[in-house]
Symmetry: none
Subunit: 205 residues, 4 copies
């Protein structure tokens, strides 16, 4: 950020610009986002946009940064909501929560996931990763004190990405025949089985 907004008005402006960027992305898609349009929606001049952000990229970074905080809050809110001790319940509710997040803000998050690699997602990735990892450790410590789980960070990397992108794909409209409920149940099933501790059966059938 080019300039630390020190006055209240400036902070409002920065906030308005980020919000306008979000609106632009969710409404028109990432490709249609232009700085003049953002400024117009924010009710601000382009010049001002460039007073607070080095370039378009910086603006989007700020948006993702903001989004990261929101996601953290969402995750925290999620774990307080979960009361059950059932792994299945926890997973299922998490997935449902994820679907609702992806639908929020007119699909802003969906658009972000779709354009994942074009956006500076590193921080959000890290946060989600470490959050779910912490949660996982907590959970497994609580229920399986005796033996720690191998490769927990790998497992959660896989789970998080599988879930996220499968949800995204299922929401992207091309797969008409599959209901969100089916996705939720089956994803849940997959993850739960994956995380269960007993030795897998011999794999040769």
């Amino acid at each position: 950020m080019r300039k630390r907004p020190q006055q209240e008005r400036s902070q409002q402006m920065v906030a308005a610009l980020i919000e306008a960027t979000a609106l632009c992305i969710s409404k028109y898609g990432l490709d249609a986002v232009t700085t003049p349009k953002i400024a117009e929606i924010a009710g601000v001049s382009v010049g001002s946009l460039y007073q607070y952000f080095d370039d378009k990229q910086a603006l989007i970074e700020a948006l993702i940064e903001n989004g990261t905080h929101e996601v953290v809050k969402a995750l925290q809110s999620l774990i307080t909501q979960i009361e059950s001790d059932s792994l299945e319940e926890i997973v299922k509710q998490s997935i449902q929560y994820g679907f609702s997040l992806l639908r929020q803000s007119d699909g802003l998050y969906l658009e972000i996931v779709k354009n994942w690699h074009r956006l500076p997602m590193q921080k959000m990735v890290d946060v989600m990763q470490s959050f779910s990892l912490d949660f996982g450790r907590l959970f497994f410590t609580k229920h399986y004190q005796t033996h720690s789980i191998q490769n927990l960070h790998v497992k959660f990397f896989i789970i998080v990405n599988s879930t996220l992108f499968t949800m995204m794909q299922s929401m992207s409209g091309q797969n008409a025949m599959i209901s969100q409920d089916d996705i939720t149940n089956e994803l849940t099933d997959m993850i739960v089985r994956y995380l269960q501790q007993e030795d897998p059966k011999p794999l040769v059938v």
Copy 2:
């Protein structure tokens, strides 16, 4: 395609253009694909490009179409290579094969997966979906004649997407700490457990 290439030279040109597009995408990224650049790389004039393709989109579609055929061939080649009857072996080899595909052509396929939703992937999706579904049916008919599996198409939708995008993410460089072998093993584990037939244990721990 605007004009059916009738002479050998034309076919070479069409091929060169598609190849140049592939090169552009894999080398510079999808955003840097411009018709002048493609033409230049193909060693051809812009006009020639438009003799054979209605527009840039058509060129990319042709590339994806080509890719779809290659993927089909790759999948067919894959199933002939698999000798084991072990589900684990099959899954593991498939994933390894997938990784090798994603690395092919200077990462063209990786770039394609990254830009999934900006590309006309419908056909490739269909092909992969139906191929894996057929394969799955075959496999389960062979080994579990007595009971068919519920929601097989949902399961494979989840498996295909989870695997594809998890591999893509793991290859995207941001996750330095996780080895491809770990991903392969854990993904395999997840999928195998998911597809195993016995009733899941009670989920409340």
Copy 3:
């Protein structure tokens, strides 16, 4: 014309090209006429087109030249059809004939009149002018031997242009409320009065 077509096949080709040009103009409009399209419609290669015509312009000139001959024939056919000695009848039939000409060939002539000044019309103008002038002289010599008419060439210049462009405008669709019959009758009335010989009434009312 670059080359005198001496062989029968060449003449057919020239004819086919001119016809294709006519078709192109009447079907797609003058702006949409492209040499590749003409060649394609003529069933001939672009190269051949340029074997017989220096450039696009030359092709269009040939078309207009052809058209000029057709118009001459049409005019000759017109005067043989006219049996009445009534000036009004002659004018009216001429106008009706003109309307039918403008509608011929899918509106080719209409398109030509619309694009009058972008086309090499000199020859057709001359022919029409001199033809109508001859006819006028003949007519007036027959009926008013005693006194020749002043400014006959000016009068016919005015009459021909007025009629032609008024017809064109009335056919161009924007003047929904005026029927072709009204146009015909009123134009006839105007021309007949104009050509009548008695001294006009004092013009101050």
Copy 4:
């Protein structure tokens, strides 16, 4: 118009762009009007052109719109200048005025009439039509209260088009032998006779 010009400078720019378009058309012809050329002549960048006009077409429309206003003013100015009650005088002066208009602005109006059907002339047509119709009604009410004229709108459609296109043709250089005075006098004669009220003589001579 894409953007309402809010500052004085912007209005100057819009004006400069329209003027440059006019200059382009009158100097090089409608076909040579390109956005880079217009911008260059206006002393402005292409980008600026597109800040104020959606596209080339919009620019031309604005020019025609401007022209329409000028024509209206010209017509109003014309009727105030006419003092005579003589129909002949009125017509003659109108035609002379028309010639002077067509010559104005380096022949811009002449070029517009030449390219009539390629330009969005509807509004100008309407204005000219209704203006001349109003004037005609007024005139005939004043002088021939007893009987209204049949088909006045048809008559004026014919008169306006005949005059306009005949003038245009006579100015287009191809008709070397006919002086503008001759055109003026004969056109006047034709129109005056046309509008005179007595029953036409029997038309068979």
